[in-house]
């Protein structure tokens, strides 16, 4: 059922069993797991069902360090959240992404890929994907035109992505949420404070506000923060009336280790004969799966590099494409959402994809960022219209990212050379291996991760293996802010899987 919090009598008290704060991919996925259960689920959404500028403004904040996109537009503040403008790319993390890697500081998750596999499978239909099968051989059988490049040694492998339509959770699941009796969706319910008991080891209630002067209290047995990496950290830090450093932040880890995926051009792959590379191409609304070039885990270990994949774009097209840092610079969240949707949807005609052959392709990198405590979300002194200190981002990269990008493409080049018909050319910024600077087009994929990272040690993590905040028995976090490392793929499939796992844990 749906309640507009603007219409409630002021100072209402709302009670339930589980309170999920945030109705994006994580929050909605979780809430639906309780549909029809005896539990009363309160689902709080700060916005309404459509974009509103004034609400979006609550997300504005400063960014320092490595230039970043405007914080105001990187997440969408309405029912459905940032699924309102995502592109639908989905792939599970690799096993190595969950492992302790001695060259990646603070790597290692308290859960394994095997722990998540059943939840990845459950997440597939939620994101309107195909079967939980990311084996290239499976997809090659579905489409005989998918012919892999002849990397025969296994050092360069094909990692498969599947494509969600993309699922706009706000449209797709509105009826399901609103029509379910035991899910109580409150819109215009911005959480501005989380209140704990005197010992600060149990959450008693949260305060919600809106622009209509209404303030209400929500009480529940368990609370789940699902407002994205930036906002999850911001809310914990800002809830500091009882814990001066913020909730769950005795060791000052909340907000730290903000991670992105670096997404940027890295080189060119030249062929002696033109090829359409059907297996590696993507047409919006048509392509079900495609491959990107990945480096075998044993080589990642040997060369001590991060995990990342390289996709290919015909050079003819790529040379006319602006980098994300130039395209996604608009502070206007609705404008950005429309721009991002237009970029993809207008190219769709739903017909079979036909890819022309070219003899040169741009290699476009997507690579994890190494966990860096200096890359962080903290609180600004400036407050938003509801009185909550704004979040600010300091984005910081390390030498390992650049070293890894160069090495990944050197490996691809060496392996391509073995079959004689292709060569790799690195872009200028990668020529000098001693050069640690970043070019102006360095950007991310709007994948925000790690600010309430998982771990067993409260000194280096915020939540445990069950996404429960260390030291607080009924406060949980859902979403990619729990990621201990960023992995190579886009985060949505993994954050939905993790959220489904949390839902199971809360049911138990």
């Amino acid at each position: 059922m749906h309640i507009d919090a603007r219409k409630l009598e002021n100072n209402s008290i709302i009670e339930g069993d589980i309170c999920i704060i945030g109705a994006g991919a994580a929050g909605i996925s979780m809430a639906l797991q309780f549909a029809g259960s005896p539990l009363k689920v309160i689902l709080l959404e700060g916005g309404g069902f459509e974009y509103e500028d004034r609400l979006q403004d609550l997300y504005a904040g400063k960014a320092t360090g490595q230039p970043y996109f405007p914080l105001r537009s990187i997440r969408l503040h309405y029912f459905g959240g940032t699924t309102g403008h995502w592109a639908g790319f989905c792939a599970p993390f690799d096993e190595i992404d969950f492992e302790k890697r001695d060259w990646v500081p603070l790597s290692g998750w308290p859960v394994s890929r095997q722990d998540l596999d059943p939840y990845y499978e459950k997440a597939q239909p939620i994101l309107e994907l195909g079967p939980y099968n990311y084996d290239p051989a499976f997809w090659m059988k579905q489409d005989p035109a998918m012919i892999p490049l002849p990397f025969t040694t296994g050092k360069v492998r094909n990692k498969i992505w599947q494509f969600s339509p993309p699922t706009r959770f706000g449209k797709k699941y509105k009826d399901a949420i609103v029509g379910t009796k035991n899910i109580h969706l409150y819109t215009y319910a911005n959480v501005t404070d989380i209140k704990a008991n005197a010992s600060v080891n149990h959450i008693e209630e949260v305060t919600i506000k809106n622009f209509y002067g209404k303030q209400h209290t929500v009480k529940a047995r368990k609370f789940v923060l699902a407002t994205c990496s930036v906002q999850n950290a911001r809310l914990l830090l800002a809830s500091n009336s009882q814990a001066p450093k913020g909730l769950g932040n005795d060791n000052e880890v909340v907000g730290r280790h903000f991670m992105e995926h670096l997404e940027m051009k890295a080189g060119e792959l030249w062929f002696s004969k033109p090829d359409a590379l059907h297996m590696y191409m993507w047409a919006f609304n048509t392509t079900k799966a495609r491959a990107e070039l990945a480096i075998a885990p044993e080589l990642q270990r040997e060369h001590k590099i991060l995990n990342g994949t390289s996709s290919m774009i015909p050079l003819e097209a790529a040379r006319n494409m602006k980098p994300f840092m130039e395209i996604w610079e608009d502070e206007n969240g609705e404008g950005m959402a429309k721009k991002m949707r237009t970029d993809t949807e207008e190219r769709a005609d739903g017909g079979p994809a036909e890819f022309k052959p070219f003899n040169a392709f741009q290699l476009f990198m997507r690579i994890e960022q190494s966990p860096n405590p200096n890359s962080r979300i903290s609180l600004d002194t400036e407050k938003d219209e509801l009185g909550v200190p704004r979040g600010k981002l300091h984005w910081e990269l390390t030498e390992l990212e650049k070293k890894s990008i160069r090495k990944i493409h050197e490996i691809i080049g060496t392996e391509a050379g073995k079959w004689g018909a292709a060569r790799v050319h690195l872009f200028d910024y990668l020529h000098d291996e001693k050069d640690t600077s970043w070019p102006s087009f360095t950007g991310g994929g709007w994948h925000h991760m790690g600010t309430t990272r998982m771990g067993t040690d409260p000194k280096t993590s915020v939540v445990d293996a069950n996404c429960k905040v260390h030291g607080i028995d009924n406060l949980f976090v859902a979403g990619s802010s729990c990621f201990a490392t960023a992995g190579a793929p886009n985060p949505t499939l993994t954050l939905v899987a993790l959220s489904l796992r949390l839902a199971d844990h809360l049911k138990a």
Partner: protein, 123 residues
Amino acid sequence: MDRRLFFRNSAVLSAALLIPWLNSCQNIDPATVPAPDFLSHTLDKESLQNIGKAYLRQFPDHQEPRTLAKLLLNDDAGATDLKTYFNERIRKDFEEGNTTIVSGWVLSATEARQAALFTLLNK
């Protein structure tokens, strides 16, 4: 054998080996070395020469055509089809990790030298 006889025999033996080798080096015609097959078919002349120039900056000791030719034809056992011979050398370079990055290109050491030689001969 006394020491004087040993040294005299050694000198004769060394000369016997060295002179033909020196002759063969002097006989290497750098122009017989083909341009790198993949690069010359894929890139324009200027781009190929830029690779060559970058290689020569990286390896200033290789500025002489004969030096490069010697490196390239070092184990040429009378190969008649040099194009096939070099393509096989290049493939082997990649197999063995004998690669170099020149001006951002991930290349076999052999083809990088071929590019450099091409540049020297086509100034």
